[in-house]
Amino acid sequence: MSIVVESVSKRFGDFVALNDVSLNVRDGSLTALLGPSGGGKSTLLRVIAGLEQPDSGRVLIAGEDATAKPPQRRDVGFVFQHYAAFKHMTVAKNVAFGLSIRKRGKEEIEARVDELLKLVHLDGFAHRYPSQLSGGQRQRMALARALAVQPRVLLLDEPFGALDATVRKELRAWLRRLHDEVQVTTVFVTHDQEEAMEVAEQIVVLNHGDIEQVGTPRDLYEKPSNEFVMRFVGPVSELSGRWIRPHDVGILVEPTDGTSEAQIDRIVHLGFEVRVELSLGDGDSTWVQTTRTMVEELELAEGQIVWLRLEAEPVSV
């Protein structure tokens, strides 16, 4: 189901968490709310879920005004950063919670729980307690619990934030596949641009309570609407007073038209990627992202004088 947010504002005391925010989330899409902490992304998600009441503005779910509805009646599944597992219940009871509140029959509940535990790869864990699961397993249980009641929208608040890097990567790919399978409108919050780019179809960049830009991962990277988005979604480098992606700068060993002279300070090998740090004639420093092959071909060395050339239009902000 689609989600529409109309001019929503929310303050906590003097702090403006959301400043007249409007947003459309298409039915069946997978959207990331991306931004630094304190940017308003979690507040926006909680307003959609009904866990937070906006000071002004409206929230529509599937075209219906849900602003005045409590979270119980919004038909949303919500996944918390720290799992919010019911610690005194088994995995099966956790997943069955929403169904037993809805007074579904015992057989129906059992069948649905089985099906969901299979979906999140936790079959065989039904009778364990959350304390006997790893972080990644707990979060998958929380996801199954949220999906059990067949919500119209699925909301995830930094779902992988508390997990270690490897499990995080695994779960990202898995969330992507799950979304393809279940096809429920999904919105997740993250402060990690790589995570947003990898998982989402649409990214909403939030900062200081304002939406900076909404677009596909590629749009944001290639056509950022301002310096904040440009810096937030990828690396930036400065050349002749202009912002540019560091892989859009070419290194030449001979001067040509429109190049600037620079001296190599340092060459950092990061595997395939190589980071070349340079000082420009006017005393500014910059860096260029290139490849190992390039460095070997040009026989670059620290202390060497080279010429830099823009190989793409710098972003006009």
Partner: protein
Amino acid sequence: MKSKYALRFLALGYLGLLLGIPVALVFINAFQDGIGAAWDAVTTPEAQHAFWLTFIMVVVAVPLNTLFGVLCALAVVRQRFRGRALLNAMVDLPFAVSPVVVGLALLLVYGRRDGWIGPWLSEHGVQIIFSMPGMILATMFVSLPFVVREVIPVLREIGTDQEQAAATLGANGLQTFFRVTLPAIRWGVAYGVVLTTARALGEFGAVSVVSGKLSGGTETATLFVENRFQRFDETGAYAASVVLALLAFATLLAMNLIKPKEARG
């Protein structure tokens, strides 16, 4: 190594001198004339009535204070309102105020002749002072803070995530409380109940002021102990003390038995 043993010795010695030896002596003195004499002393009609009265104090005060304690803790931790800090501070009043003062305060409110609302209640046939209601009020007052104080930190610790998760899954306030919050705080509540029970069993000062100490009438177990002691009936006093101590031990033991392993500490 030495300091390790010194620490243990200090802790055990302190407890032994303050608690162990005196309580042991109570037991020894209770049975100085044999088990039969002790048994007879605590089965007289006055003694039985005193234990019955103490039982009623516990049975009324503990559930009411448990109910109040959980609701009060929820209000203090989960809600934001004016006077929240005041409520939180007021709960500790029974810890700070001497039970005798509590008794006198109750006299000022409910005293039949010069109390604040006592004369009016008396005209309508309700007697608080020198009868059960006053004694129950006194017991409730002194045992009020225990459940609140045990539950508040547990509620803070579990946070609101689980409750919010329950709400998004469709549970209303009551369903969330009974299915999620209460199971999560149950050991805090249980410990509060044990402490409340122990305090209600042992209350002396406040009840002493409002009871009138009528033997076989408004005399609770602790008042009975004092009464026997003042009449030089040492066996009676110590034997009743032993019963009170055993009841308190049983309460503590019961909690430890029902507690699951992971919650024991």
